[in-house]
């Protein structure tokens, strides 16, 4: 440790300068700091060392698959692609394998649970299309309607491929269905239930679950509304009373 020449106090490194300063009297010493320590951000070094994410864009580039699929293809398929590339030299064969994978569980497949839902709500499409059409068309239309209501991205082309229907036919029938159901979509669940109780031509055949889908509400809240209406009406279900409820609720 160095000491001050004047008072003998200890010397301290001056802030933002290359000289020592006396802690006691403040005299700037002639001794300059010779040692230069390189500034290394240890955290940054760690960060760069720990970076282990594989770059899939290069894999896609080598396979000549468009990069727009990068986000859509699952990680599982990308890892497989990398492994295939490491093991095999023939890129054409790897491409074939990857496209097969994509087809089986990638972009063109629809979740099975959605198809189940389509079968559940099939009755809705049948009633609004006056019963004209095949079962496949009803299912396809309801799948399209459900996906639009719940903001699931499904194209007409994709659905028509699954149900083996022509794209044009599906589009035409869907428009017909949409035109009719739009009139009922304006009403809230309360009015739809009242119309059902009044025996409206179409709604009398629908279940509460289907009404909830039209009004875009949860089944639980639809059931609660139904209970409230029944409580309000009591034992006597009169058409005049129901009409009064329908009009006053506007």
């Amino acid at each position: 440790m160095n000491y001050c020449e004047e008072c003998g106090g200890s010397l301290i490194k001056a802030n933002q300068s290359e000289y020592y300063v006396c802690a006691n009297c403040g005299l700037v010493s002639n001794i300059a700091i010779i040692e230069v320590i390189p500034k290394i951000d240890t955290n940054k070094a760690k960060r760069t060392n720990n970076y282990t994410y594989p770059s899939y864009s290069r894999v896609l580039e080598r396979l000549k698959i468009s990069k727009k699929y990068k986000r859509k293809i699952s990680d599982e398929i990308l890892i497989k692609a990398k492994i295939f590339l490491e093991n095999e030299e023939n890129i054409q064969e790897v491409r074939k394998k990857i496209y097969r994978e994509i087809r089986s569980k990638g972009l063109n497949s629809i979740d099975n649970s959605l198809i189940k839902i389509a079968k559940e709500y099939k009755n809705l499409a049948r009633i609004f299309l006056n019963g004209n059409g095949s079962e496949e068309i009803f299912e396809a239309i309801i799948l399209l309607y459900y996906s639009k209501k719940k903001n699931i991205k499904l194209s007409i082309r994709k659905i028509s491929k699954i149900f083996n229907i022509s794209k044009n036919n599906l589009f035409r029938r869907y428009k017909e269905f949409e035109k009719r159901i739009k009139i009922y979509e304006r009403f809230n669940i309360k009015k739809l239930i009242i119309l059902k109780l009044l025996g409206q031509n179409r709604l009398k055949f629908l279940t509460l679950k289907e009404l909830a889908l039209i009004a875009n509400v949860r089944y639980d809240s639809a059931r609660a509304t139904q209970m409230r209406i029944k409580k309000k009406l009591g034992n006597i279900v009169d058409n005049q009373a129901l009409l009064g409820l329908l009009i006053s609720s506007q």
């Binding site: 009403f187 119309l195 506007q250």
Partner: protein
């Protein structure tokens, strides 16, 4: 649907309801089995003789003209 029949239904529903908005009439007709939109109802009601309307800031009320 036949326009004459539709207009007759409109008159009938307005007579029954007294004062009503286009939405009320559309709902009433829907309950009877006629699928119409409030837009179509108001389109016809404005032109119909004997029907008066009062425009409020948030809705339009339709009613029949009283006989003197």
């Amino acid at each position: 649907m036949d326009t004459v029949y539709f207009r007759a239904m409109l008159y009938k529903s307005l007579m029954e309801l007294g004062k009503a908005t286009a939405e009320d009439i559309a709902a009433y007709l829907l309950a009877k089995g006629i699928e119409v939109t409030p837009q179509k109802v108001s389109q016809h009601l404005i032109k119909m003789p004997g029907v008066k309307y009062k425009r409020l800031s948030y809705k339009t009320i339709y009613f029949m003209k009283e006989k003197e």
